[in-house]
Amino acid sequence: MEPADPLETRLRRSLRVVADATVVPANPAAPAGTSGADDRPPADRPSAEPVPLLLDPLDGRRRRAASGWRLTAAAALVALVVAVASVVTIGRRDGTSFGSGGPATTAPPSATAPATSSGAVISPPGSVTPEPPVANVDHWHAAYGIYVCDHFLPDLVDARADAHGIHSHGDGIIHVHPFDDSVAGRRATLGAFADQIGLGLGDTELRLPDGTTYRNGDPCPGGQPMALRVATWKADQASAPAIATRDPADVRISEDRMVITIAMVPEGVSPPPPPSVPTLDQLSDVAPPAR
């Protein structure tokens, strides 16, 4: 039997220690004086101050009648909090902020609230100011291309109707004008765009809509093994690209007029910018700057 890796052993122990130190809000359905749903023996439980819950546990005679409205009420309460936060944010962005706040911007208010359809998303503290691209405000474009070994592949078109506001017309341009928060801000990623055009963008492989798959280690014509890279250039800058060698789907489309090459190239080969870059200056659907 193989001896356990010391790091794995340490990791198991550390995670257990941190988990044991977790403060679990009290569950009133549990016997008095215990943490809610705590599966450890009483001696191992942290002596934490109970935190009130949005969704009470369902207990005793009332639980059948109460469960439905409690869940609904919890979702509604969270939605209300998010909506209030959204109003505050819009006020600040309009320069009509409550209190003195930061400098006002001229951006129009977002037409969408940041709540999900269930209203159950709780925005973390400090996340109420939307990051660009902002839903129903920004309209960005990025030039992109898929480069394999030594040549660019034909530009891809959408695999489905664009429901969220990120698409391509087969011209090597990514159009980003989010209709909702699912592709706005930090969710405007290469992964979101890849989904839209039916491109499989894994950590180590690239799968085209027709099923052709390029994997790390596959040989280029010269025999050198290819590896997945994503090269990005800042808008209108001729500087060297930033190269992402892992988590390519998480690469953000973080500004208007970005240039992106998704590449399967041998080690040491710097992917070139895509041929669609000049198209950025010939677009007919460029909205006037809204921000």
Partner: protein
């Protein structure tokens, strides 16, 4: 399809059994004890809507908690990728504290894979199902997560 009463009973039981473990899991995934109960609360709300349809509520709940945690991390990510996420101060032994801080700088998927593997003790196929990825990717995430952890602990920086 379960009746309303059975669904309510199932939800109550699920809540009693899994609330605490899921808060701890959410804490490990996000690094934030403060946000963990809220994420788990959201997860229960989502699960409750489908409880009559799903075969393995506990496994489904874990998937939802993991997804909620990952979404929260992505929302929290600061301008530069791989910059350490803030770690809430909790009193830990020094060696645990060092490793817990190192976990905070890992890419989100590696961190989650390590938590599922070494805290939840899941096999690679179950990790793959939870993360909705191929088994090979799950193995790779764990392998790379350990390698990243070694690197961070060795460097003492990043």
């Amino acid at each position: 399809m379960l009746g309303t009463e059975a669904v309510d009973d199932g939800l109550a039981e699920l809540y009693r059994d899994r609330y605490g473990p899921m808060v701890r899991l959410a804490h490990l995934i996000t690094g934030s004890n403060a946000v963990a109960p809220d994420l788990v609360q959201d997860a229960f709300v989502k699960v409750s809507a489908r409880l009559g349809e799903i075969q393995q509520p506990a496994a489904y709940l874990r998937v939802v908690v993991v997804n909620e945690g990952r979404a929260w991390i992505r929302r929290q990510e600061v301008e530069r990728r791989h910059q350490p996420r803030p770690v809430e101060p909790i009193e830990l032994p020094p060696d645990v504290d060092e490793l817990w801080s190192a976990m905070a700088v890992l890419p989100e998927r590696q961190r989650v894979a390590l938590v599922l593997r070494f805290y939840e003790d899941l096999g690679f196929d179950e990790i793959a199902r939870t993360l909705d990825c191929p088994v090979g990717t799950a193995k790779s995430l764990v392998h790379r997560g350990l390698a990243s952890l070694r690197e961070v602990l060795h460097d003492g920086t990043r």
